[in-house]
């Protein structure tokens, strides 16, 4: 009995000494370690990025009312990462600047034919028809707001995933008519990603379309342009699509403000990037004629 008590005492003393030593070491390491942010970041580490991606994909599955083709399924299409939900924001831009969409053909692709009777029977118990929430989904009831929780979860887990903020802002402001919420969410994203040109671009879009504050929108776009040059310029493969959008919107807003000179300047920049330079050239000619 006495021996056991002695062993227990020895173990407790050892634990105490090791704890003191570890605490000392931890304080030294903490100085060298990068500052950790939220509790979530500390607990989950980099795995939160994976979960962030998963929740973003989940939002896309919700956009298709539960319909998705798994990794085991056919290779015709998949909805992970940037699916149609994200594509919709890009389509919107294509429509604005080029007058057509690139996704139309693939959007209504059907799933592969069932391989056997089990698969054919099983398809009756889960969504196996391709629908879009913004077109009403399976019950023709517009419920696009249902994607929002997963986008919010995704942003909470991975605050550096820019697409989450821009896609959410698009749906909130353009489809759900909640520009204030969209702006607040974008500002949250801007806080986590200071000076991000994509977020600044979305903010300018809200300022122009919802607040009708063209001066503010132009200021934001000019800042986005400067940040694009700073952040994307040095990259091997910069995001030129975003640059096109920035120049395009700057030209549009400057035209609306009656500053044709500046608008023409931006359109000339856009022409060198656009896949449809002839359409941009036409806009330049129109503006020059109006000026005369």
């Amino acid at each position: 009995m006495r021996r056991s008590v002695l062993i227990l005492g020895l173990l407790l003393a050892s634990c105490f000494s090791v704890a003191l030593r570890l605490d000392h070491l931890l304080q030294i390491w903490a100085k060298d370690m990068p500052k950790k942010g939220s509790l979530m970041e500390v607990i989950m580490g980099d795995s939160r990025r994976l979960l962030g991606d998963y929740f973003f994909a989940k939002a896309d599955i919700y956009f298709h009312s539960g319909y998705y083709i798994s990794r085991f399924g056919g290779a015709k299409e998949h909805h992970e990462g940037s699916g149609h939900m994200a594509g919709a924001t890009e389509e919107h831009e294509h429509e604005d600047h080029a007058g057509h969409t690139d996704h139309e053909e693939e959007e209504h692709a059907a799933p592969d034919a069932p391989k056997d009777w089990i698969e054919a029977f099983g398809r009756k118990f889960y969504p196996s028809e391709h629908t879009h929430l913004d077109e009403g989904g399976p019950n023709k009831h517009d419920a696009v707001q249902e994607i929002l929780p997963w986008l919010k979860f995704s942003a909470d887990l991975d605050p550096n995933r820019i697409e989450t903020y821009t896609v959410s802002a698009y749906w909130l402001s353009q489809r759900l008519h909640k520009p204030k919420e969209a702006e607040a969410f974008l500002r949250e994203g801007l806080g986590a990603n200071p000076g991000n040109p994509s977020i600044l671009f979305e903010l300018s879009r809200i300022a122009a379309s919802n607040d009708k504050d063209l001066d503010h929108a132009v200021n934001l776009l000019e800042l986005a342009l400067a940040k694009w040059k700073e952040q994307e310029g040095p990259k091997k493969e910069p995001n030129t699509f975003l640059l096109e959008q920035i120049y395009g919107n700057l030209a549009k807003l400057e035209t609306e403000r009656g500053k044709s000179e500046k608008a023409i300047e931006y359109l000339k920049q856009l022409k060198s990037l656009s896949p449809h330079p002839e359409a941009v050239e036409k806009q330049i000619e129109d503006l020059e004629q109006k000026k005369k």
């Binding site: 399924g73 391989k115 698969e119 029977f121 099983g122 009756k124 707001q145 919010k152 759900l176």
Partner: protein, 259 residues
């Protein structure tokens, strides 16, 4: 015969509400669901699908836990407490005893599901524009039928595996595995070379496809009802597997010494 099976089943059902497991699981499910319900997403009060999905996931986990834990301890507990001897000394066959245990466990799962789906319907109705009662009925009934397959398998397992814990763990892993991967095994098989392809395809045809009974996605995303003929066929499919597992259990139990 039916009165004897009912008597045994009645005892099993009483066990469910005497034990505290179900109450704890139910309170946890309600608490977690209410926490998720209290989150504000961009001041939109009509968002309901994420809530349905999370609550349904909790219900599925809860029901699997209840089904496996209830069924797994039935026969071992009777053996351990030696109450199986006076029970089988009465004019009751071993098959009737097994059927009673199966029916009791399955009905206990049904009662638990009724409460859990009732809570889900109430919670969803606070944000949804209609009750969708038939959709809930289809989802809950197929869920219950699926639990029948699991209960039958667990009862068979309790005669084959050494302890209730191993039986429960194996069943849980198999059930979750089938639910997640069952419907993709054919695609996996096609990507393999022989003999792997034949082996995986054989497994694909042999296993009970529990995913047939999982209507969560249809319920969450407000899809129309499954055709009633299809619903009935799924029940027949489940009944066949229940019969297979109970027959196997009966054959094992008849030859198995009680000590």
């Amino acid at each position: 015969m039916f009165s004897r099976i009912n008597a045994i089943a009645g005892v099993t059902i009483k066990e469910l509400y005497r034990r505290k497991d179900f109450y704890v699981i139910f309170v946890f499910t309600v608490l977690i669901a209410l926490i998720f319900a209290s989150i504000n997403f961009f001041n939109d009060t009509n968002i309901v699908r994420y809530l349905k999905e999370i609550t349904l996931l909790l219900i599925w986990i809860a029901s699997l836990t209840i089904a496996i834990s209830t069924a797994a301890r039935q026969i071992p507990a009777e053996k351990e407490s030696r109450t199986i001897f006076p029970l089988l000394a009465k004019p009751i066959t071993r098959t009737e005893f097994l059927l009673g245990k199966f029916l009791g466990s399955w009905l206990a799962c049904g009662i638990a599901l009724l409460v859990l789906y009732g809570f889900l319907a109430l919670l969803a109705r606070t944000r949804d524009d209609s009750w969708h009662l038939l959709n809930y009925f289809q989802a809950a009934s197929l869920h219950w039928v699926m639990l029948g397959i699991i209960v039958a398998f667990v009862i068979f397992g309790s005669l084959v595996f050494a302890a209730p814990s191993s039986n429960g763990t194996i069943t849980f892993i198999l059930a979750v595995g089938i639910l997640l991967l069952g419907r993709h095994l054919n695609s996996v098989a096609l990507g393999l070379s022989e003999p792997g392809r034949t082996i995986v395809y054989t497994i694909y045809y042999l296993i009970p496809h529990l995913e047939f009974f999982d209507l969560r996605d249809l319920l969450v995303h407000s899809w129309p009802l499954v055709a009633w003929g299809t619903w009935a066929l799924a029940i027949v499919y489940a009944a066949l597997y229940v019969a297979v597992f109970l027959t196997a259990a009966s054959l094992v139990f008849r030859k198995k010494p009680l000590i």
